[in-house]
Symmetry: C2
Subunit: 340 residues, 2 copies
């Protein structure tokens, strides 16, 4: 009998908002993880330890730090989970000291799903630095990161030829955290919300990146992305944990991104996230040979799925080669009870 236990992976959490706290709660239950600390800049966070912040007694006494450097002065760390924004350029900037230290950084930053789209230069620089230091960087989550990109790509694996990728996701925003309820425009006037959309100031972060990750995996050279945002209006008064919305005000968003190749192959992704959504679900349809249509009943919603995607990526990231990685380059997603 083998009685030697593998050394746990030392993980720290960068960003102690709702998603970061949820990461810590999941990490605390993994036998192969040792949580070594949390990082944030807010004084009211820094006055507490991770046990107080998470409510998980197993994290009592594990400290919070005001910077990555402060944590490194006291602790050895193998992996950072990064939950501190949607901008690829800003996130990569925050990650510079982590990359220089040669560690694994896994982020919920939506644009990092396909960082070359909005931060091509920063991505190339970070990739080069990773290859020198041994660091690895990944953006992942449930959307972007799984439902409309990883899942259709995976399903195409049993197709001899793919002509079109159609994805449809309906999320009941009232089941999600306050920032997401706000992000979908809850309570705004539809005109104002759609105007913000036209200015690129509203909408689902990472949606274009989802489309581009699929195109990249399939080897498709797609033309310009059409990105349309519409307000879904409340049909009646809606009250959630965080918002009260009058009939006619914005209850959520309807966003469609699409693009095609010169040969006429199409990627078309349709997302509805709104308060009190009816029939939440995820649907992936491949116009392919053989054709594939997969329905996820109820949809893979909930911020826990994003957190799980990040935590589950740890073992795969520890095994991959250095660089800024894409979800499609890592080994098959899974939820391992131990590292094999």
């Amino acid at each position: 009998m083998n009685t030697t236990q593998p050394t746990p992976v030392r993980v720290a959490q960068f960003g102690l908002g709702p998603i970061g706290i949820s990461c810590l709660n999941v990490l605390a239950k993994k036998s192969w993880v040792e949580v070594v600390g949390g990082i944030d800049i807010r004084p009211e966070i820094l006055s507490q330890d991770l046990g107080q912040l998470t409510g998980d007694n197993s994290l009592n006494g594990i400290a919070t730090y005001d910077s990555f450097e402060a944590l490194c002065a006291e602790k050895e760390v193998n992996v950072i989970l990064h939950t501190a924004g949607s901008s690829a350029a800003i996130s990569l900037k925050q990650m510079e000291p982590m990359i220089d230290k040669g560690i694994v950084v896994i982020s919920s930053c939506e644009e990092l799903l396909f960082p070359a789209h909005r931060a091509p230069e920063e991505t190339a620089v970070a990739h080069g630095k990773c290859q020198k230091s041994g660091a690895r960087v990944l953006g992942t989550g449930v959307n972007p990161g799984f439902v409309l990109d990883v899942l259709p790509t995976c399903l195409s694996g049993i197709c001899a030829e793919v002509y079109g990728v159609y994805g449809e996701r309906v999320v009941d925003a009232s089941t999600r955290r306050q920032p997401l309820q706000k992000k979908v425009g809850s309570g705004m006037s539809p005109e104002e919300f759609e105007s913000l959309g036209r200015e690129g100031k509203a909408g689902h972060a990472g949606f274009q990146e989802t489309l581009l990750l699929v195109a990249h995996a399939l080897g498709w050279d797609v033309g310009p992305i059409k990105d349309e945002l519409f307000a879904i209006k409340a049909e009646e008064h809606i009250k959630t944990d965080h918002f009260e919305i009058e009939a006619g005000q914005t209850a959520g968003l309807h966003q469609i991104v699409s693009a095609s190749t010169p040969e006429g192959k199409i990627i078309y992704l349709d997302l509805k996230m709104y308060q009190a959504a009816k029939d939440p679900h995820d649907l992936v349809r491949l116009d392919a040979n053989p054709p594939v249509e997969a329905l996820v009943k109820g949809g893979i919603a909930g911020d826990l799925a994003t957190v799980a995607a990040m935590v589950n990526a740890i073992p795969r990231m520890l095994k991959t080669t250095p660089g800024v990685k894409l979800m499609t380059e890592l080994s098959l997603p899974c939820c391992p009870d131990k590292i094999v």
Copy 2:
């Protein structure tokens, strides 16, 4: 503009039965593949070239050979697609010269999905030889290889914890090739078919391997596998392309494999393959946090899916490290139009 074209991958087909021919038809349409030959031992096959065997004119003049060595004497080859049996031990024996040459071998051999189950010594030897020569070996397909193993594993990637994996697959055998229709017991007496099942001489090849691949990916130490085979009796007279079945005779198989961990985590996989099956579909349900239930409408049936899984694995196998590989160790399945 980059006008250099990457060198195509030189692929040969080992085994020129129905699946092997279908592989060639798919390979012939891939711009990143150059088909260099076919290998079989049957004289009636060896008297024809691949154009004649496949009906695809683009393969005219590409020869058939009676051995891997005979092909290698004339052609350079990077990849062998192997469709010549279900036994891991026999397949690995056939692959010895390919492994010694350090090439990539992708097989439809069902037991190779998790070869350590039935051929642990042969697998260890082959793995060692691969690591010396640079060769890589993979078993894949649609079932085993995708629907009840790769797909549930992939879906677990967004779960914080998994307690049970349930898979259900219903296949209309009348849509499949003659050997599969025979394999499911078409026209046999139910008693005889179930008796063969108890002797291990009937049933779906690779089903236990599917369960073990999921357990391995999740890091679950499962106990003994329960493997039950039942005959599905024809309710009325059935006539297919290949069989006539009287009411009361065997129309197909119903097989269940299940196993659990000491902590009570369960994998339960239920397969029905029978003539004129009603409501063919694939269903994966993860008893997990968050829970996931995915339905593939109509099911991913058809031998083309197995062929596509093999062809699509080529780029990923060319990039991976040497050894006998598992589908869960490769990067995410996809159907690429080009190698990136």
